[in-house]
């Protein structure tokens, strides 16, 4: 599996670290509650299109948002994660 990095070009996925589901959003509420359980532990885990984070640690060190099909590992769009 190769990931086309917007900065570095197409590289083997071993240069990257996996950051998991990109659709999760960190709760703003500082108190532990159901929203934190949801954020830390629950996953949609789809079979098919998955929006996910990859960190290019052995390259440009950017966090990327990759759309990848979990059924066949085919990668669609790749973009740089925007800072909040």
């Amino acid at each position: 599996m190769q990931i086309p990095c917007p900065y570095c070009g197409t590289r083997s996925h071993e240069e990257f670290s996996y950051g998991g589901d990109a659709n999760k959003s960190r709760p703003t509420n500082p108190e532990f509650g159901p929203d934190w359980v949801e954020y830390v532990y629950l996953r949609t885990n789809p079979a098919g299109a998955h929006r996910e984070l990859w960190y290019h640690g052995a390259g440009c060190r950017a966090w990327l948002v990759v759309e990848r099909n979990t059924l066949n590992h085919v990668i669609g769009s790749v973009s740089v994660l925007e800072r909040p």
């Binding site: 599996m1 083997s12 996925h13 071993e14 996996y18 998991g20 589901d21 159901p34 359980v37 949801e38 830390v40 532990y41 629950l42 996953r43 949609t44 885990n45 789809p46 079979a47 998955h50 996910e52 990848r68 979990t70 059924l71 066949n72 590992h73």
Partner: protein, 419 residues
């Protein structure tokens, strides 16, 4: 009980009859419109659940539905290792119960599963790791489970072919569980299927569940590719597909699906007479009775339902193999295959009720579900039949992620790539 009993006499009788009298090991029934319980997933855990429901709880009006053929998933895709050398109090009694069921399994189900207690040696490569393994061994012995800390020479006696003086990872010794070993994995699926079928359980293959019917918080049955089936109890044993099936009932699980690759080498004469794990990485190897070396390492580390991994993991597995046992470099790899692991967020399984009445969940086995097959089926059957957890599986609750009662063997948190 229906069907043929296997024994030395049946073998001799068939030898004289020219092998013409063997019966099919299980029926191929059409699904009935209604059952007392439906088990989704005809893998090891689902079939074992069906068997123990029939045997221990007298529930025989039940069906196992499987989208492919039985044993086409992870029960036929693992590296066949059994052991019970866990660390945490919630895990040790469960896996030890499983090992005890393995020890009596073949007589129980009248099927040769080639259970071989050839021992499992977890190697250690540093003083710190030795101490951690000593602690694990002590925890095991306090639970009445066998464990023996071997020094370097004792390991060398059992496995002289290892690279003891590896520059980075010299082998200092190992933690041995002699009662661990290997089991012929396909035979586990077939044996449980046959034993369940003989007690009247329907096993319906090529029957994919496409929906779960829920009304007023109570499960009423499933929609399948072969029509609807009604039941007041529906049990999920779907391994890597647990999230997909649970989503049909509107549930989100603390699970990610990841691919794990297993490997087998070309066949060779007897070389490794035990199971050896590499402590400086994550690598395990044994030899099948056909002669092939069976080995594996870690998951690829990204969500996948593809049943095939990628080259970097294969390369890393081979590097670990070479660091452990340089002679392996002379071997050719025969093939490799991927299985989809239901990686739970604390590395331990879930055997529990769900918020939906009558819907039961058995999932989250991570990379270690095969060894758990008998106890998983045994305790899941107890849960389904009696609506309460069996004591050995009492810690495997679905709500532990909210209550904080996690079972994190590795102590690495909610990152499934670290489990």
């Amino acid at each position: 009980m229906n069907g043929q009993h296997f024994s030395i006499f049946s073998v001799l009788r068939q030898a004289l009859a020219g092998q013409t009298g063997w019966q099919k090991m299980w029926r191929e029934p059409e699904p009935k419109p209604e059952y007392d319980a439906i088990i989704i997933g005809g893998g090891g855990h689902g079939l074992a659940t069906a068997y123990y429901l029939a045997k221990e709880h007298g529930m025989t009006n039940i069906v196992v539905v499987e989208k492919g053929w039985i044993g086409s998933g992870n029960v036929g895709r693992n590296t066949t290792i059994i052991r019970s050398n866990y660390l945490l109090p919630g895990n040790i009694p469960f896996y030890e119960y499983s090992l005890k069921l393995w020890e009596g399994l073949e007589h129980d189900i009248n099927y040769n599963a080639m259970v071989s207690q050839r021992g499992v040696i977890n190697l250690y490569h540093s003083d710190g790791q030795r101490d951690a393994y000593a602690r694990r061994g002590n925890a095991l012995r306090l639970h009445g489970v066998d464990a023996e800390l071997l020094d370097r020479e004792a390991v060398r006696k059992r496995a002289p072919f290892l690279d003891f003086d590896n520059a980075r990872f010299p082998i200092q010794g190992g933690l041995l569980q002699q009662r661990g070993g290997t089991v012929r994995h396909d035979a586990v699926a077939w044996g449980y299927a046959r034993a369940a079928d003989r007690r009247g359980v329907d096993i319906v293959q090529h029957c994919e569940v496409t929906g779960i019917t829920v009304k007023n918080g109570q499960v009423l049955g499933v929609e399948t590719s072969r029509g609807p089936i009604r039941a007041k109890k529906v049990a999920l044993a779907c391994a890597g597909n647990s999230s997909r099936v649970a989503a049909m009932a509107g549930l989100r699980l603390p699970i990610e699906s990841h691919v794990l690759t297993a490997f087998v080498s070309e066949g060779l004469k007897p070389l490794i007479d035990t199971v050896i794990t590499f402590g400086a990485g994550h690598f395990y190897i044994s030899q099948s009775d056909k002669g092939g070396l069976v080995f594996g390492a870690s998951i690829d580390g990204y969500n996948s339902y593809a049943q095939r991994g990628n080259l970097p993991t294969i390369e890393e597995t081979c590097e670990e193999a070479m660091a452990l046992m340089p002679a392996l470099g002379r071997l050719r790899m025969l093939r490799q295959w991927g299985g989809i692991m239901d990686m739970s967020m604390d590395g331990s399984p879930i055997i529990d009720r769900t918020p939906i009445q009558g819907l039961y969940l058995n999932a989250g086995w991570c990379i270690g579900g095969f060894k758990a097959t008998p106890a998983s089926g045994f305790s899941f059957a107890h849960l389904i039949a009696r609506d309460e957890s069996h004591p050995i599986a009492a810690a495997y609750r679905l709500d532990r992620f909210a209550t904080g009662r996690l079972l994190d063997e590795a102590g690495t948190g909610a990152d499934v790539t670290q489990h």
